[in-house]
Symmetry: C2
Subunit: 235 residues, 2 copies
């Protein structure tokens, strides 16, 4: 068995990615990065998901990206709500965090080197997040090339780093079906950009809408805990 | 005037790099990343250096790399002392922090995008730190290529990211002479891997020895504050 590092936010995509890596036979080292956007409950949920899916270890790295700002997720910019799919696709959204996946993968690379892993899994998706430059295959391939130049492990040539994004071309409904097949408990995952301290979703941000539509398209019940004030229905 | 982000640890190399970027006419946004290795006094010194050299802003980002370990600088491994130059050059040292410059440059890239900068300066040096894979020109070039794929700013094509490492091929003595020419006050810089809470250097770690030899080779007085217990003399 080889070791793999899996970036785990605790949402649908990263949880399914973890289950996928495990199903391939990897010893999974889960890594959650809290860049200032996460409530404690979401990190606890990530830990719970890592454990329930059989990860060997789970680490949480805190990085204070509020210090550099530039995103609705780390700044005081409002998270947009009730947007249509075409509005979401029209431009890179304010929830874009500058250089987010570069930073996340950089930390994952450091963790990989520490645990002797050459395989890094990320739940990046180029369909739902068409506007995010760092969710594209070209970016992920460039990061893997960088990783082999960047590290003691890469330079010593004991292996070649690879960045795996098994969900990159799947629809949200396909991801949900794959997750259910791999026994991911989606009732424990948190996707919302504005979840409250209990992990309850707003139901209105882009992430909530994509998630809700995904369950509808997959024809399975939506197990999400919405806040009582949340809109319950455009799916 | 263009904006530039300069990674500033507050040591000789990064302080000289900041002065160099300023001398080229950039508006400088200094960024210090505290990955668990720095005393408060060192960050205060970095802030003081940024201000004295005319940076427009200085941000400090805290990232808890202790959570992933793997280095004498973030872990409970002892920092080696009293090593000869050939011992230092023989292998990648235990002070190597896994994926350090990938993480630092990733954060710098996020800050650059936030302030509208396409130029990132880093005090990397391929002579003194021959053993660090992420201080090599090939790594820095690969990071710049990645940056243009990774970001909204890069994808929108308003500019091309560049990573500048003006000290990459200079000896420590050359760096010191360049810093003095640019009015860097080296008495305020902290280099030591094991500085105390007053910023006083141990005089024995690899970083201290390279620094001390640099002042000797440059034929200028060493303004470093050593701890009273520090060895005062192999230069």
């Amino acid at each position: 068995m080889s070791n793999a590092v899996v970036l785990l936010s605790g949402g649908i995509d990263s949880s399914t990615t973890l289950a996928h890596a495990k199903s391939l036979g990897y010893d999974v080292y889960a890594l959650s990065v809290n860049y200032g956007q996460r409530h404690r409950v979401e990190l606890d949920r990530a830990a719970e998901i890592a454990k329930s899916l059989g990860a060997k270890d789970h680490r949480i790295v805190r990085i204070d990206l509020l210090a550099i700002g530039g995103s609705a997720l780390t700044d005081s910019i409002d998270v947009p709500v009730d947007r249509t799919a075409s509005e979401m696709a029209a431009a890179i959204p304010v929830t874009y965090v500058p250089a987010r996946n570069t930073i996340l993968l950089g930390i994952a690379l450091g963790y990989a080197e520490t645990v002797g892993a050459f395989d890094i899994f990320i739940g990046a998706n180029s369909l739902d997040y068409a506007g995010y430059p760092d969710c594209r295959p070209a970016f992920l391939d460039a990061f893997a090339a960088l990783a082999n130049l960047a590290t003691k492990a890469g330079v010593e040539g004991k292996g070649r780093f690879q960045v795996h994004a098994p969900l990159i071309r799947l629809t949200k409904a396909e991801i949900i079906r794959e997750g259910l097949r791999l026994n991911v408990d989606f009732s424990r995952t948190v996707t919302c950009y504005d979840a409250d301290q209990h992990g309850h979703a707003c139901g209105r941000c882009d992430a909530c809408q994509l998630r809700r539509a995904g369950f509808a398209d997959a024809n399975v019940p939506d197990p999400t805990s919405y806040r009582t004030s949340a809109k319950s229905g455009n799916s």
